[in-house]
């Protein structure tokens, strides 16, 4: 790349509030790959909870806010397939009839990436320099998989991690039952789904489950812990950046 790209990091509300080290891992991966990383302080939420619950007006307001916060960057990078998918796949339609924002929404959508796919597709990163001596399974989050087509990228980078052995889940394409507000609106159905996912994870014999979305990971980790399972849950960025010294998600400190 000729000039260092200026990347606006959208941490997402979940990472900001719950697990800052994913934000730092993302920043490290981007900086190591030659980006200038900035974190605009006016970021809050991408608007997905409102959008998916039918509150279109609030979703539009939040979309405009995100656009204002990020429009000056070469790229917007998000350590979450679902929030990146929201900006990439939904903002343009959401603001199509807004004369001031329609073009901006399209432009931002074309420059917005989920973290791992950005590293591979745009920065052409071929291998990570980390090491992690465990058998891991990777959970494909639905939005990343189906809205952004992310499938090979995380596997490719994980294959280069020293000591890591990647195992495939039998139901890799199945939803874990998180679904944003779904998990609290339909807790019993959600529990059944995450139960199946956890059984699937345990069947691989992996000792860590990785994913690119903190929402899914909190759901999976929460169920693993409730069952007393020793399987750890981590964001894929933590492993790729080598941030694996501290407790995994939901673990004793």
């Amino acid at each position: 790349m000729a000039k260092e790209p200026r990347v606006g990091l959208f941490a997402t509300c979940l990472v900001d509030a719950m697990r800052p080290q994913i934000g730092f891992a993302a920043a490290k991966l981007l900086e190591d790959a030659g980006c200038i990383v900035e974190v605009p302080p006016s970021q809050t939420c991408c608007g997905q909870p409102a959008y998916n619950n039918g509150d279109r007006e609030t979703a539009r307001a939040l979309a405009r806010q995100v656009i204002d916060a990020f429009k000056e960057y070469d790229y917007v990078v998000v350590p979450s397939g679902s929030c990146a998918g929201m900006i990439h796949a939904h903002y343009p339609a959401l603001l199509a009839d807004d004369p001031n924002y329609a073009a901006l929404a399209l432009s931002l959508a074309s420059r917005t990436y989920e973290l791992v796919s950005f590293l591979v597709r745009v920065l052409k990163l071929e291998r990570a320099t980390a090491s992690y001596g465990e058998a891991v399974a990777y959970h494909d989050s639905c939005s990343g998989l189906r809205e952004l087509g992310i499938k090979d990228e995380p596997r490719q980078l994980l294959a280069g991690v020293d000591g890591l052995e990647l195992r495939e889940l039998a139901g890799a394409e199945e939803c874990c039952g998180f679904g944003g507000t779904f998990c609290v609106k339909y807790p019993d159905i959600s529990t059944k789904m995450v139960n199946d996912k956890v059984a699937d994870i345990e069947a691989t014999g992996a000792t860590t489950i990785l994913a690119g979305d903190l929402g899914c990971l909190m759901n999976i980790a929460g169920r693993l812990k409730r069952k007393g399972s020793g399987v750890k849950a981590r964001h894929v960025a933590e492993v790729l950046a080598g941030f694996v010294g501290g407790p995994a998600i939901g673990e004793e400190r």
Binding site: P41, L62, F182, K225, E252
Partner: protein, 475 residues
């Protein structure tokens, strides 16, 4: 058009606690899902065919009136009769009148979702007619007085034992001690009984998978051949079909059939694919004397030109249902509507009103698998979201959800307030969780913590730490 009492929420507990149902649902993955995957992989042009089928159907819908007119004139030309039914009641009246005119006592019926939609059996029975379902699955649930739990596999929620006991209970004329443990024995018994019904029936009623404009034909696919017997043996044949079943040509019908079987059961073709045109002609060996087509609207015209028009491309293959994780958890009966899963979540509110059915499009994680497998490329999540937007506008969305979203929206739209609150709240929560790093219980989060621990925040927020780090401090 409620098929069962209750709501998804109130029916979930029973569905999750039903071991037979859960066993059946677990088989979806190794059954329908796996078979569809293989069938799609074996046909390199599968995705191209999906595009073609979508475009074909779009063109039909753009010009539906003229295609319907052509279809009608062709049917009449062949000696058939066409009846237009605007509402469910119209359709019931038309069918009943035809049966009465034919002095019918016994009706043989092929599987038809439209007949479920208009609750036809109930209506005919109320008027003194005997109706026998001839599809094995439909026959079984008819004996059990249940609605279907799946659009192509109506009795998928039952196991062999339950079928055997339904047979023992309802086939009173047979020896009570007969062995019914083998599937073969069940099949033979149903076949023997249905055969008598086919022969005795005065009227046969079937659905239609496709109506073909250029020839006035209809296409019926089955795996049991019961549809063929239902339409050839009785004197009078009634086809019940909704207006969006129209395709322009036989060629277009064969395109749709190729997609239908692969998406539904993973078959290249179903065992029987029958194209029928008009009643029995002079010299024909069999076939009905009278041939009627009842064309049902029941809310479909109102879907045209709006956000739900794409749903009219649906060919009822059930791929979306087979791959839906919510259906996979609770089965079809829990939806309380004849149409279930993602296709039902879009269609039911359109046909029967959002007021009573807003929960169906709400109960989805938007995982998107339904759209991924839909052969007609119907954007099911987008349309479920469109229903949610209407529910929100009309204040049908539950008050608790509205309130929560309102508070969240208010705070999220004010970054300074948002920052203040998370910067205060997260360290506090982290402290409350202490060394455990998670909550086993938390007020207001019981929906989550009933079955899952809630991971606790690390402490300071990312943005606060990032600012300190940029200023040269430590994080």
């Amino acid at each position: 058009m409620r098929s069962r009492p209750g709501s998804i929420k109130s029916n979930t507990g029973a569905a999750l606690a039903d071991p037979v149902l859960q066993e059946a649902l677990a088989k979806l993955k190794t059954g329908f899902q796996a078979k569809r995957k293989i069938a799609a992989a074996n046909l390199p042009e599968f995705d191209a065919l999906r595009d073609q089928a979508r475009d074909m159907k779009r063109a039909v819908l753009d010009d539906l009136d003229s295609y319907l007119e052509i279809f009608e004139s062709k049917v009449i030309e062949q000696g058939g009769q066409v009846h237009w039914a605007e509402t469910a009641q119209d359709a019931r009246d038309i069918v009943l009148a035809i049966c009465k005119k034919a002095n019918a006592k016994l009706i043989a019926k092929g599987k038809s979702m439209i007949s479920e939609e208009i609750m036809l059996n109930h209506w005919l029975e109320e008027h003194g007619l005997e109706v026998v379902e001839t599809d094995l699955g439909e026959y079984i649930i008819q004996l059990r007085k249940e609605p279907p739990s799946h659009i192509i596999a109506p009795a998928i929620h039952l196991n062999r034992k339950q079928v055997a006991s339904a047979f023992k209970e309802r086939h009173k004329e047979l020896d009570g001690d007969r062995p019914l443990d083998e599937p073969r024995a069940l099949l033979d018994e149903a076949r023997a009984i249905l055969r008598q019904k086919f022969l005795a029936a005065d009227v046969g009623i079937t659905g239609a998978n496709f109506l073909v404009a250029e020839t006035g034909s209809f296409v019926l696919v089955t795996n049991e051949g019961n549809g063929d017997l239902t339409q050839t043996l009785p004197r009078v044949h009634i086809v019940l079909a909704s207006i969006e079943k129209l395709v322009p040509t036989l060629e277009a019908a064969s395109l749709a059939v190729r997609l239908l079987a692969r998406s539904a059961t993973g078959q290249e073709m179903t065992s029987y694919t029958t194209v029928t045109t008009g009643p029995k002609r002079a010299g024909d060996l069999d076939g009905p004397d009278e041939f009627h087509i009842v064309l049902l609207d029941n809310g479909r015209t109102a879907m045209m030109g709006g956000p739900f028009e794409d749903m009219l491309r649906c060919i009822r293959c059930a791929a979306c249902i087979n791959h839906c994780p919510v259906y996979g958890a609770i089965g079809g009966h829990a939806y309380a509507s004849f149409y279930c899963g993602p296709m039902g979540a879009v269609l039911t509110p359109a046909l029967a009103g959002l007021e009573d059915w807003a929960e169906m499009p709400d109960a989805s994680t938007f995982c998107g698998r339904c759209e991924q497998v839909c052969p007609m490329r119907i954007p099911l999540p987008r349309m479920m979201r469109a229903w949610r937007e209407r529910a929100f506008e009309r204040a049908i969305t539950p008050a608790a959800t509205r309130f929560g979203l309102g508070v969240w929206g208010f705070v999220a739209r004010r970054p300074w307030l948002y920052r203040t609150l998370v910067n205060l709240g997260m360290p506090l929560l982290a402290m409350l969780a202490g060394k455990r790093g998670r909550f086993a219980q938390l007020p207001l989060a019981s929906g989550w913590t009933k079955s899952r621990d809630l991971p606790a925040p690390e402490g300071k927020t990312f943005l606060a730490q990032w600012e300190a780090y940029k200023k040269g401090g430590q994080r």
